[in-house]
């Protein structure tokens, strides 16, 4: 059996055929059984398979985007559960971007942050306040709510405001080290949440615990965006930008500075890396992803209040990062996907299924332990199992390898060029 597969996987052609066959099968599965969550998950699973195949990078990206942006939404749209799937997809995208932001802080720069959700909150509130009547309660000028078209500007504004808060957090934090940082960031997250929940007096800025309702939905050339399937594309777009930025940064000068600071602060300084600037950049860039998604979240929910931004949410994002594999971009994306899909779909489905079979077969379960209540328990158990069996994360971090042959060749060429230059100089 394994020999058969080994042969199959050797050639690229076979891989392509097999992969397309898988996607077609999974797609057909979802098409024929439109309400089957498992068929939906299978289709998503193809992305993970794609990641492990040895196609070239561009082919992987293109097929990934085609599957997520065209095939999956199209097939799902044939089903009643279309919006459910797209809602899950949207949430996964939002949290992926957030987890990637936190990954910069925790995974790259090695700064443990337990209050990361604060930046999400800041982004969400910045749109919510100005895209609802709320702003008119304290702003002396302007006409509110702002029209839905402002949403696109607010994605940038949200990112900027969150980045600013990232720097605000960073300044006091830089003096403290290691796990002291954890508590300071936790405190910062709580301070932001409490402020948002209480700033309805003396000046009503956030409407306090009543939250901000009736947020204007985004407007795209006159089309009002309201359904999950539309938000899916916005989130997908931002997600692509975020992943591009992260991938590029990871191997840039700044990315190397982060990792150097993480691995050895003193040596990093001795190599001329300014600690303060580097750490602040990590906080600011990480926070900005969160802020962007906060804006989208506020627009999607059309309502924000402080209950969405608790300490538990911060730990959930941290769980995505650590579970996926710290510093590993594909790992973190997978981590976010697994946590969100588990919590919003799979566990809900499992508990529903359990209670429906118990009802169908007349098994009476005492209400104290009915399956609906078990979601967090099962989630907790799964976390323990994952952590124990994948200690390095679901997809452990690997450093990007350079092609040594190319370097060798280029180095030889450069040497030749130098030689020529010097001998040329001697000639003249």
């Amino acid at each position: 059996m394994s020999a058969f597969f080994g042969k199959l996987m050797q050639s690229k052609k076979n891989q392509i055929i097999l992969f397309i066959a898988y996607v077609v099968l999974a797609g057909a599965g979802l098409f024929l059984l439109p309400d089957s969550t498992i068929a939906f998950l299978m289709l998503l699973f193809s992305i993970l398979i794609l990641y492990h195949l040895n196609f070239n990078l561009r082919a992987k990206w293109i097929s990934g985007i085609v599957i997520l942006a065209i095939i999956m939404p199209f097939i799902a749209s044939q089903s009643d559960s279309y919006q459910t799937y797209m809602e899950v997809g949207t949430l996964v995208g939002i949290y992926c971007a957030m987890a990637l932001g936190l990954n910069i802080v925790v995974g790259f720069a090695g700064l443990l942050d337990l209050g990361f959700i604060a930046f999400f909150a800041v982004g969400a509130y910045s749109y919510a306040i100005f895209a609802s009547e709320q702003a008119s309660k304290f702003m002396p000028f302007g006409h509110y709510p702002l029209p839905g078209g402002s949403f696109w500007i607010f994605i940038i504004v949200g990112a900027a405001v969150a980045a600013l808060f990232g720097i605000l957090l960073g300044v006091p934090v830089l003096r403290v080290r290691g796990d002291y940082l954890a508590i300071v960031t936790l405190g910062f997250g709580e301070i932001i949440r409490i402020l948002l929940n209480n700033m309805d007096h003396p000046i009503n800025i956030t409407n306090g615990s009543m939250g901000i309702a009736s947020i204007t939905p985004p407007n795209f050339f006159g089309i009002s965006i309201g359904s999950s399937s539309q938000f899916y594309y916005i989130v997908f777009g931002i997600f692509l930008v975020v992943i591009y930025v992260v991938r590029k940064l990871e191997n840039s000068k700044l990315g190397r500075s982060w990792k150097a600071v993480r691995d050895n602060e003193i040596a990093a300084q001795a190599m001329g890396i300014p600690l303060v600037k580097t750490k602040l950049a990590a906080f600011a860039i990480g926070a900005s992803f969160s802020g962007m998604m906060g804006v989208v979240f506020a627009a999607k929910q059309m309502f924000v209040d402080a209950t969405s931004f608790t300490y538990l949410e911060s730990t959930m994002v941290l769980v995505m990062v650590i579970l996926g594999g710290m510093g590993s971009v594909p790992g973190v994306i997978l981590g976010a996907g697994v946590v969100i899909i588990l919590r919003t779909q799979v566990l809900t489905n499992i508990s529903n299924w359990l209670s429906s079979i118990s009802a169908d077969y007349g098994i009476s379960i005492p209400p104290a332990i009915s399956p609906e209540k078990m979601q967090l328990l099962i989630f907790g158990l799964l976390l323990i199992i994952f952590a124990l069996y994948r200690t390095q994360g679901l997809i452990p971090h690997k450093n990007r390898k350079v092609n040594v042959e190319v370097l060798k060749k280029e180095s030889a060429e450069a040497a030749l060029a130098r030689e020529k230059a010097t001998s040329g100089g001697a000639d003249s």
Binding site: Y244, V245, K248, L249, S252, K253, L254, G255, R256, S257, K259, A260, R262, D263, N264, I266, A267, A268, Q269, A270, M271, G272, I273, P274, L275, A281, G327, H397, N399, K401, V402, V404, L407, K408, E410, S411, A414, A415
Partner: protein, 258 residues
């Protein structure tokens, strides 16, 4: 011409005096050794030069400009780079990345340029990689380009640290016990590497070392510290016969019996 001048440098930790009143002059393009028994204050001296510690009093001048009060990364940007007694590599990064980090202060690429994929930034990054590869070849690590630095053997880690420091293109290179824990063969290789460095890269080297054979072989000038004080300085031959130095190394009895 003196590239580095140290004037009356003193460092107190609480009540403890780690170095007191050290004065040194380091000539450009020389190899200067700082020796002395354990606890003599050699590493403290290095730490003050690289601004890890702030001196209690005294001054450090690089080409006549004071370094006191700068941040460690600023000192590095002024052209002083070091290696560490207990190796401090970026263990989770590849060997090549370690060298690339060393090149940071000379690397004119900004992350915004990287994001925009500006062609000249890409060119700079590519060239940097080639240069880093050359450095690795120079320190004999070209076969470990993609290896994680933490996985290297001890001697190789030492050489990588030197390579990383070289990448910074320093004016002054501080080597803190570069030969510690090396076998004779590795030490020989290191000796010629250090020698080569000076001539090839036009760099001034200050090193702390316990291996006297190495010190005597390559240094132009030697300073001897004991209990935080400068007890002798001179050319290798002068130090070899200096009574106070022998006393410090072997104890008072050794000289008395002499």
């Amino acid at each position: 011409m003196n590239i580095l001048e140290v004037k009356n440098l003193t460092k107190n930790f609480g009540g403890l005096t780690a170095t007191s009143d050290i004065t040194m002059n380091v000539e450009k393009n020389s190899i200067t050794a700082v020796i002395g028994p354990n606890g003599a204050g050699k590493t403290t001296f290095f730490n003050m030069v690289t601004a890890v510690y702030k001196p209690t009093s005294g001054d450090i001048l690089l080409n006549g400009k004071s370094l006191v009060g700068l941040k460690p990364h600023q000192v590095s940007q002024f052209g002083i780079t070091r290696t560490f007694q207990n190796i401090r590599l970026f263990n989770e990064m590849t060997v090549l990345e370690n060298v690339l980090v060393g090149m940071h202060q000379n690397l004119k690429s900004h992350w915004i340029g990287t994001l925009l994929q500006l062609p000249h930034i890409r060119k700079i990054e590519e060239a940097a990689k080639v240069e880093a590869y050359d450095i690795l070849k120079y320190v004999g690590l070209e076969d470990y380009v993609n290896e994680n630095a933490g996985n290297l053997a001890y001697g190789a880690q030492r050489r990588l640290e030197i390579g990383r420091a070289m990448a910074a293109k320093p004016k002054i290179l501080l080597l803190d016990e570069p030969a510690a824990g090396m076998n004779p063969k590795e030490t020989d290789r290191l000796t010629s590497l250090i020698h080569d460095l000076r001539t090839k890269l036009d760099v001034t080297i200050i090193l702390i070392e316990h291996d006297m054979k190495l010190v005597m072989k390559i240094s132009d000038y030697i300073y001897v510290l004991d209990h935080g004080e400068l007890i002798a300085s001179g050319k290798p031959d002068e130090i070899r016969t200096n009574k106070r130095v022998i006393e410090a190394y072997l104890g008072k009895g050794a000289v008395a019996n002499d």
